[in-house]
């Protein structure tokens, strides 16, 4: 075990993957010698050479198109998109190509070796284009897996699993926590399961569901509620697609209540999918409507960032309202 922040854990996972399998290749804007604008790929080029870790020209559609080709040829392509706000030039390559490579060819070809890493989320005074949480766009695309870690330990285990998973994975990294989240991370190789949620706090009164950076907010709100005697069960979804319906439903059946929270705007956010599934599968167990605490339906703001964010007080209030329904 050693203490690492989230960036160091990601860097450590990449080194582990590249050492263990020489088919792993990392690339993206500024990821080479410089080690990426956040330094997640520090020292990879020095350790593994320019052929396996390199700068690309500044073109996201090029990066993912290239990655699709490389993965279909049999390599494990780990492509970085510098900010998830800049993933959209690659939307066509991801949605129409990555996601359908296997299906459309009858499994003659696939890009299962592809992993796309990208920082997401707000709270860094980054305005519209350095703050968005675009996971729901991709969750609407069968063929992709979408993974979001909440801390360094999770990041290493989930990233290693993502790189080795035989399906294309979008790996969203909570950049607000890159340096802020520090924890013990095993030095050795390990994987955490994709498609499996984790109950991080047990409770009988109300389920609170989140992922990534929002887990910190959800946990703080649960602590606040605990001071008033409300015992929340806090679940980290970890994988958005395919998501762990069973764990969530089992918890809701126990608590009878669900608060889902994410930074992305409310309308058509992934919380909507969860709410729909929960009312379908646990309708008679619900003591209150499923509550969503999300960003407002506006572009991510700058000077009103604090007001926009689904912060601890908003999640706490939602827990309260749900309890007193």
């Amino acid at each position: 075990m050693s203490q690492m922040n989230l960036l160091q854990a990601i860097n450590n996972a990449l080194i582990t993957a590249m050492k263990q399998d020489d088919k792993v290749v990392c690339f993206g804007e500024d990821v080479g010698h410089f080690g990426g604008v956040f330094r997640a790929t520090s020292n990879l080029q020095e350790s593994f050479g320019r052929a396996r870790c390199f700068n690309t020209p500044l073109t996201e559609q090029g990066i993912i198109g290239f990655a699709n080709g490389l993965a279909s040829q049999g390599h494990k392509a780990v492509a970085e998109i510098q900010f998830s706000d800049y993933i959209f030039p690659a939307f066509d390559q991801i949605v129409n190509e990555t996601a359908k490579f296997r299906y459309r060819s009858g499994n003659e070809f696939n890009v299962g070796g592809l992993t796309i890493r990208t920082p997401y989320g707000g709270g860094i005074r980054g305005g519209h284009y350095h703050s968005q949480s675009p996971e729901a766009y991709f969750a609407h695309t069968p063929g992709l897996k979408v993974v979001v870690p909440r801390n360094p330990h999770q990041a290493k285990g989930l990233l290693l699993a993502s790189i080795r998973d035989d399906n294309p994975v979008l790996f969203f990294e909570p950049k607000r926590l890159y340096r802020a989240s520090v924890g013990n991370v095993p030095e050795e190789d390990y994987e955490l399961p994709i498609g499996v949620a984790e109950i991080v706090r047990e409770g009988r009164d109300c389920t609170v569901l989140a992922w990534g950076a929002q887990m910190e907010v959800a946990s703080k709100a649960a602590e606040r509620a605990a001071k008033e005697g409300i015992e929340c069960e806090v679940i980290d979804l970890r994988t958005i697609l395919p998501w762990d319906v069973d764990t969530v439903i089992a918890s809701v059946k126990k608590t009878g209540r669900l608060v889902v929270t994410h930074e992305a705007p409310l309308t058509s956010g992934f919380g909507a999918e969860i709410a729909a599934t929960v009312q379908e599968q646990a309708f008679l167990h619900l003591e209150a409507p499923v509550s969503r605490v999300c960003g407002l339906d506006v572009p991510y703001p700058l000077s009103h960032e604090a007001e926009y964010m689904p912060d601890e007080t908003k999640v706490f209030e939602a827990i309260h309202t749900t309890m007193n329904y």
Partner: protein
């Protein structure tokens, strides 16, 4: 009709040999055969004023970011002549689509020191209503389209805007600035091709400053810079020394005349160097040498232009001192004033999403306000003005 050959013979990637247009030497004298620009003394001094203003502004704002007064800044140190010189050759009715390092063009158009500050401090006077990070300026009145961070997106937009100007029969064109890094985006290729095919009076001005954050241009492209691509799209192309204000001015003036006469785009590649960090989030010591920076510091575009002014007897040391002192004082005063102003009221969280806030958005705002009344200390910037 292409001529026939009967053995495979490649035209190699380096077949073109695109020259660089230069007027001013670093000592302020003209190259042999080069011509003086067509502007008078008043214009010459206005351009110098723009250059100095931007240099002082950039220096102060980088400092303000370090002090934590603004979250971000991005300087144009070393590249001021490319944006000021090109903007100087345009007409006020010409539309500007910038990338983000063209504050010189905006200043030339007349953006005031207060307007710069209001945007950087996201206050209630910011034309963009405090919604974007510092340096994302825009002004309808000055024909300066608001900056968007996603790179390259403005390039096809500039083609479309110019097409509209052409349809309306205006004596106006569009200039589009972008970096040599952004020129790798798909939007660059789409935009230049559309402008060429649809005959749009667009001046594409690439600032080739050697780097895209840490990525040197040698890792960005293999061909002869960005200029060679213009020719592939059938676009009139010129490479110019971007640290030479007189050359940039003359190049842009010629490009404007060409674009409007032929209803066709022009590509200018201005060769320069980003002397400072990419932005306040960057530290260039991780990817380039001090020695390289020092070589380029010797080619300072502002100093070069000043030498020319001095030799024409249009400028003195005395004036120089006054000008810097004046700009410093004005910028400091404006900064203090901008910093004191509040951010826009929370009502503006939902304006401009659509032409009118939808009922659904009004409902969300109402809920938010109710929450803010309960927890006013959580939202100190706006909770005191909920009914304003």
């Amino acid at each position: 009709m292409s001529k026939s050959i009967h053995k495979p013979g490649f035209v190699l990637g380096d077949a073109l040999d695109i020259p660089t247009f230069k007027v001013l030497k670093q000592d302020g004298t003209l190259y042999k055969g080069a011509q003086e620009p067509e502007f008078d003394k008043e214009m010459a001094l206005k351009l110098y004023d723009d250059l100095v203003f931007i240099r002082v502004l950039d220096e102060r704002m980088v400092g303000a970011q370090r002090q934590g007064r603004i979250p971000f800044y991005l300087a144009s140190l070393g590249e001021e002549a490319a944006s000021v010189g090109s903007a100087g050759a345009l007409k006020p009715q010409d539309m500007i689509f910038a990338q983000y390092r063209e504050q010189g063009a905006l200043r030339h158009r007349g953006f005031t020191v207060d307007q710069f500050m209001d945007q950087c401090f996201s206050n209630d006077r910011d034309l963009g209503k405090g919604r974007q990070m510092p340096i994302h300026y825009g002004s309808k009145a000055l024909n300066y389209n608001t900056i968007s961070s996603p790179l390259g997106t403005q390039i096809p937009q500039a083609a479309g805007y110019a097409y509209g100007q052409k349809l309306d029969g205006l004596d106006a064109c569009t200039i589009c600035y972008f970096g040599e890094g952004a020129a790798s985006e798909g939007d660059f290729h789409a935009g230049l091709n559309m402008a060429a095919v649809l005959k749009c009076p667009t001046i594409f001005l690439c600032r080739n400053n050697g780097y895209a954050i840490s990525t040197p241009s040698a890792e960005q492209f293999s061909g002869d810079g960005v200029a060679s691509r213009g020719i592939g799209y059938g676009i009139a192309t010129l490479r110019v020394d971007g640290n030479d204000l007189l050359a940039v001015y003359a190049a842009t003036a010629a490009a404007r005349a060409y674009a409007l006469e032929h209803n066709a785009p022009v590509l200018i590649e201005a060769m320069s160097y980003r002397l400072g960090a990419h932005s306040t989030s960057d530290d260039p010591t991780g990817y380039r040498s001090k020695d390289e920076e020092a070589q380029w510091a010797k080619k300072d575009p502002i100093l070069r232009y000043k030498h020319w002014l001095t030799q024409k007897d249009w400028w003195s040391d005395e004036q120089e001192k006054t000008l810097y002192a004046e700009h410093r004082a004005n910028i400091l005063a404006a900064m203090k004033a901008a910093e004191k102003r509040p951010v826009p009221t929370i009502d503006h969280l939902i304006t401009d999403v659509y032409d009118e806030p939808t009922p659904h958005l009004r409902q969300q705002l109402k809920q938010l306000k109710a929450h803010m009344r309960k927890y006013p200390e959580q939202y100190p910037k706006t909770s005191g003005r909920l009914d304003a």
